[in-house]
C-alpha cells in the first residue's frame, strides 16, 4: 500500500455507464474502508473539521472505521449530519475537508467523502438509525422545504425535542436531492428516500403538496396553526435564461425542467407517463455541476452532448470529479464558446445554435478573467435540443407573501450567517433561499445554524 495515495474507489466502466442510470461510483467495501481509514493520522488540531460546514468529528469517525466499528462511526457522524449518505456522494470534499487534510500536503488527502459514504451505506444496509430524540419540549417549528437545508434543520430540532413539521411544495420530499441531482450520482430510492426516513424516524412530520405562499402563508403558520418558529429552506428554484433570440423555440429547456422531468418524474424510464425530449444532438449551455448533470443525463438518453461554456476549462465552476466523469463518458466540451441565437425551423423546433468564439480578457469582479467576443467568429452548431444551465435564483413566492421579511436585490432572503435570523421575529432562513444557488453541504450548514438560532430564540422567549 502506498500511504501517499488514496485507496482507489471502484467505479462503473465509463462506456457501460454512459448508457445506464445506475450509480457511477460503487464505493468502498469494509476492507477498503478500513485500509483507507488507516491513512488518517488523527491530527490533534484537525483541520478537516474546520473545512466541514457541518463540523463532523472527522478523525473521530475515521478512528472508529479503523477499528472496524462502523456503527460507532455512524453515530459520530449522525451527531453532526442528518444526510451522510448524500454528503458522501455530492459534497465538494476537495475544497472542504479533504482540501485541508494534512496528508494532502505530500500526497493525496484521506478519502473522507468515500469513507463517510461507506459508513452511511453500511448503517443503512444494517438497519442502524440515528440516535433518537430526547423528551419532547412541546414547541412546534415549521420548516419550509425538504431539501438539504430543511431536512438538516428539522433533524437537528427534532433531536433537541421540538415538534417539527416540514412543508414541501412538490409531491415528494427531498428538494434538489430528488428533482435536481440525477440517479447515477445519487440514487433516489436507496439513498435519498432512506435518509429522509431517518429524519422522519426522529419524529419529523412531512406534509407534501403545500406551496408556502400559496397554500398557506408564514403569517398563518405562526398565528393560526400554532407554530412557535419557522425555518425557510425553500431553495433557489427559478431558472435563468439567456434572453437571446429563439430561446422560446421547441426543444429549448431550462436544466431545471430537463432534470425535474428525468429525476422527479422518472422520465428517463420510458414507462413513465411524463415525457422528455430524447434529442440526437444536445447542447448544454453552462459549466456548473447542474450543467454536468444535465449533459450526462442527455448522454444516457442517447444523445451526442456538447457542453457550451463561455470561459475556459480552468474556470469551469463544476467539481473536478464531475468534469472528469463527463469527459470519460464522452461529453464534448466546446469551451470559450457563447451562444448568441437559437435557430428554429418553420414549425418552431430547434435546428441549430449560433455561437461566437470567446477569448479571456482582464479579470472581472468575480476574479475570473472576463470572456470577450472574438470579432467575426460567428458559427452555427447543429443541435436539436438546447438545455440552459445558467444558474437559478430564489422563488419570490414566500418573500412576497410574508409581512416584514426582507430580501436583497437578488430576491434572496436577508438572514445572518450564524443563526439564520431574518428580519421577521421567529423566522429563520438558510440555504439557497438566502445565498442563491450553492451546494448541498452549505445548505446543510445553514440548516444547522437555523436550528441553533431557533433553539436560542425559543429558549429565551420562555
Amino acid at each position: 500500500m502506498d500511504v501517499l495515495k488514496k485507496v482507489p474507489v471502484r467505479e462503473q466502466d465509463a462506456k457501460v455507464r454512459a448508457a445506464n442510470f445506475e450509480e457511477v461510483c460503487l464505493g468502498y467495501n469494509k476492507e477498503e474502508a478500513m485500509e483507507e481509514a488507516s491513512r488518517c493520522i488523527n491530527c490533534k488540531n484537525a483541520q478537516c473539521i474546520k473545512g466541514c460546514p457541518v463540523a463532523i468529528n472527522i478523525p473521530g469517525f475515521i478512528e472508529k472505521v479503523k477499528e472496524g466499528d462502523v456503527e460507532a462511526a455512524y453515530q459520530v457522524i449522525s451527531e453532526a449530519s442528518a444526510l451522510p449518505a448524500v454528503c458522501g456522494r455530492v459534497c465538494p470534499q476537495e475544497s472542504q475537508c479533504e482540501g485541508k487534510c494534512i496528508r494532502g500536503i505530500k500526497g493525496e488527502p484521506v478519502s473522507i467523502g468515500k469513507l463517510e459514504r461507506f459508513v452511511a451505506d453500511w448503517a443503512r444496509e444494517n438497519g442502524i438509525k440515528p440516535a433518537g430524540a430526547k423528551e419532547k419540549n412541546g414547541k412546534k417549528v415549521a420548516v419550509i422545504g425538504s431539501g438539504p437545508a430543511g431536512l438538516t434543520c428539522a433533524g437537528d430540532l427534532a433531536k433537541m425535542g421540538y415538534e417539527v413539521t416540514i412543508f414541501e411544495a412538490l409531491h415528494e420530499p427531498g428538494g434538489v436531492l430528488v428533482y435536481g441531482i440525477p440517479e447515477f450520482r445519487l440514487p433516489k430510492e436507496d439513498v435519498v428516500a432512506k435518509e429522509i426516513e431517518n429524519v422522519k424516524s426522529l419524529g419529523v412530520k412531512i406534509e407534501t403538496n403545500v406551496v408556502v405562499g400559496k397554500s398557506v402563508t408564514i403569517d398563518e403558520l405562526l398565528e393560526e396553526e400554532g407554530f412557535d418558529a419557522v425555518f425557510i429552506g425553500s431553495g433557489a428554484g427559478l431558472p435563468k435564461f439567456m434572453g437571446i433570440p429563439g430561446e422560446q423555440a421547441n426543444g429549448v429547456f431550462s436544466a431545471n425542467e430537463y432534470l425535474t422531468r428525468s429525476n422527479l418524474m422518472k422520465a428517463f424510464n420510458e414507462e413513465s407517463p411524463t415525457p422528455i425530449m430524447r434529442g440526437k444532438k444536445v447542447a448544454v449551455v453552462g459549466g456548473g455541476n447542474v450543467a454536468m448533470d444535465a449533459a450526462r443525463t442527455a448522454l444516457r438518453l442517447g444523445a451526442e452532448v456538447h457542453i457550451v461554456y463561455r470561459r475556459s476549462e480552468e474556470e469551469l465552476p463544476a467539481r473536478v470529479e464531475e468534469v472528469h466523469h463527463a469527459k470519460e463518458e464522452g461529453i464534448i466540451f466546446d469551451l470559450l464558446t457563447n451562444p448568441v441565437e437559437i435557430l428554429a425551423d418553420e414549425s418552431g423546433w430547434v435546428c441549430g445554435m449560433k455561437c461566437v468564439r470567446m477569448e479571456l480578457g482582464e479579470p472581472d469582479e468575480s476574479g475570473r478573467r472576463r470572456p470577450v467576443v472574438k470579432p467575426g467568429s460567428e458559427f452555427v452548431i447543429e443541435v436539436d435540443t438546447v438545455i440552459m444551465s445558467l444558474g437559478t435564483s430564489p422563488n419570490p413566492l414566500i418573500s412576497s407573501t410574508t409581512s416584514g421579511l426582507e430580501t436583497n436585490k437578488w430576491k434572496c432572503i436577508v438572514a445572518d450567517e450564524e443563526f439564520g435570523k431574518t428580519t421577521k421575529e421567529g423566522v429563520y432562513a438558510g440555504g439557497d433561499a438566502v445565498t442563491g444557488a450553492a451546494t448541498v453541504i452549505l445548505a446543510m450548514g445553514a440548516g444547522k445554524a437555523g436550528a441553533r438560532g431557533i433553539d436560542e430564540y425559543l429558549k429565551n422567549k420562555q
Binding site: 411544495a169 412538490l170 409531491h171 428533482y179 407534501t208 403538496n209 403545500v210 406551496v211 400559496k214 397554500s215 398557506v216 428554484g237 427559478l238 431558472p239 435564461f241 434572453g243 430561446e247 422560446q248 421547441n250 426543444g251 429547456f253 431550462s254 431545471n256 425542467e257 425535474t260 422531468r261 418524474m265 422518472k266 413513465s272 407517463p273 411524463t274 415525457p275 425530449m277 414549425s347 418552431g348 422563488n395 413566492l397
Partner: protein, 292 residues
C-alpha cells in the same frame, strides 16, 4: 391522499370531480389552478379551478380526456382518492383585486369555449356574489358537448350559447356571437376569454378590432407549477413570462399565440396526434397540434 366526493361525466369525455382539499379550498380565488396526480407514478396535470366550497373544504375541477393521464383520472369514482392535489397555484383573476365600486360600473363579457367553460364559471359566480351581472357566451362544438349550462345560467346576467354546428342555441363560433352582440348595441369594458388556444387567439383578434381590453387564461405545458421549470414560458408584450407564477391570466392582446400554440405541441408525437384524431372524431375541440 385527497378524497373524491363527487365524480360525474358532464358530456362525452368531459368530467367533473369535487375533491376534498382543505388548504386549497380555504385560500383559492377565481382564476387560480391546481395540479393533480392520479397515482404514485402519475404525471402532474394542471387544471384551472372550477368551483370551491370553503366550508366543506372542497375544490371542484373539470377536465377533458386528452391523453393517458386524464384517461386514468376519468376512471376514478366518488370515494376514490387522488395521490396528490396541490394549490392554489398562479395568480387570482384581476377582477378579484379590483375595488367593488369599480367593478359595479363595468360591463363585463366572458367568452368560454368547450371545457374552458369550467374556469369561467367561478369568476362569473364570484361577480354575482358581488352583485355584478356579467354577460357570458358559451361555445361548444355541438349540443352534446355543452357543459355547465344550468350552473352558468344561474350566475350570469345574460347567457348566450352557441354551437359550431348549430345543434343548439345560436349557430357558429363564439367570435360570431361577440360580433353579433356588439352589433346589437352591447358595450363591453372588458372581455375574459378562456378556451382552446386557437379560440382565444381569434377572440383577441376580434376584440382588438372592437377596442375591448381582453384577458385570457393560458394552459401551457407545465411540470411543477411553482416557477421552477420554465416549461410554461410565454411571450407577452415581448417579455418572457411564466404562466404558472406570472399568470395564468394575461392581457390577450399582448400574448404571442402563435408561439404558445407551437410550444403546446412539444410532446405531441405524430402517432399521438393520429390516435387523438381517431378517438375524438367529431368531438375534437383543439389542443391536438393538428388544428392549432
Amino acid at each position: 391522499m385527497y378524497k373524491i366526493l363527487e365524480a360525474r361525466e358532464l358530456a362525452a369525455n368531459i368530467y367533473l370531480m369535487e375533491v376534498e382539499a382543505q388548504r386549497i379550498a380555504k385560500r383559492c380565488q377565481p382564476g387560480q389552478f391546481i395540479i393533480v396526480r392520479t397515482d404514485e407514478e402519475g404525471e402532474r396535470i394542471p387544471l384551472t379551478i372550477c368551483d370551491y366550497d370553503r366550508e366543506k373544504g372542497t375544490v371542484t375541477i373539470v377536465f377533458q380526456i386528452v391523453g393517458a393521464g386524464t384517461k386514468k383520472m376519468a376512471k376514478l369514482q366518488a370515494g376514490d382518492y387522488f395521490h396528490d392535489f396541490v394549490g392554489p397555484l398562479g395568480c387570482a383573476s384581476e377582477l378579484v383585486n379590483e375595488p367593488e365600486e369599480e367593478l359595479k360600473k363595468k360591463s363585463i363579457l366572458f367568452v368560454a369555449g368547450g371545457v374552458g367553460t369550467a374556469p369561467v364559471y367561478p369568476q362569473v359566480k364570484w361577480l354575482k356574489g358581488k352583485g355584478v351581472a356579467a354577460d357570458v357566451i358559451v361555445g361548444a362544438k355541438t349540443k352534446d358537448l355543452l357543459i355547465l349550462e344550468k350552473e352558468m345560467e344561474a350566475v350570469a346576467g345574460n347567457l348566450y350559447v352557441t354551437t359550431d354546428d348549430g345543434s343548439y342555441g345560436r349557430s357558429g363560433m363564439v367570435t360570431q356571437t361577440v360580433k353579433d352582440l356588439v352589433e346589437e348595441g352591447k358595450h363591453y369594458d372588458v372581455c375574459i376569454a378562456i378556451g382552446p388556444m386557437i379560440m382565444m387567439k381569434f377572440v383577441c383578434k376580434l376584440t382588438k378590432e372592437l377596442g375591448i381590453p381582453t384577458v385570457v387564461s393560458l394552459n401551457p405545458i407545465m411540470v411543477d407549477g411553482t416557477g421552477m421549470c420554465g416549461a410554461c414560458r410565454v411571450t407577452v408584450d415581448g417579455e418572457v413570462k411564466f404562466a404558472c407564477v406570472d399568470g395564468p391570466e394575461f392581457d390577450g392582446h399582448k400574448v404571442d399565440f402563435d408561439q404558445a400554440m407551437k410550444r403546446q405541441q412539444m410532446y405531441k408525437t405524430a402517432e399521438g396526434r393520429a390516435a387523438l384524431k381517431e378517438e375524438e372524431g367529431d368531438t375534437h375541440h383543439g389542443g391536438c397540434g393538428n388544428c392549432g
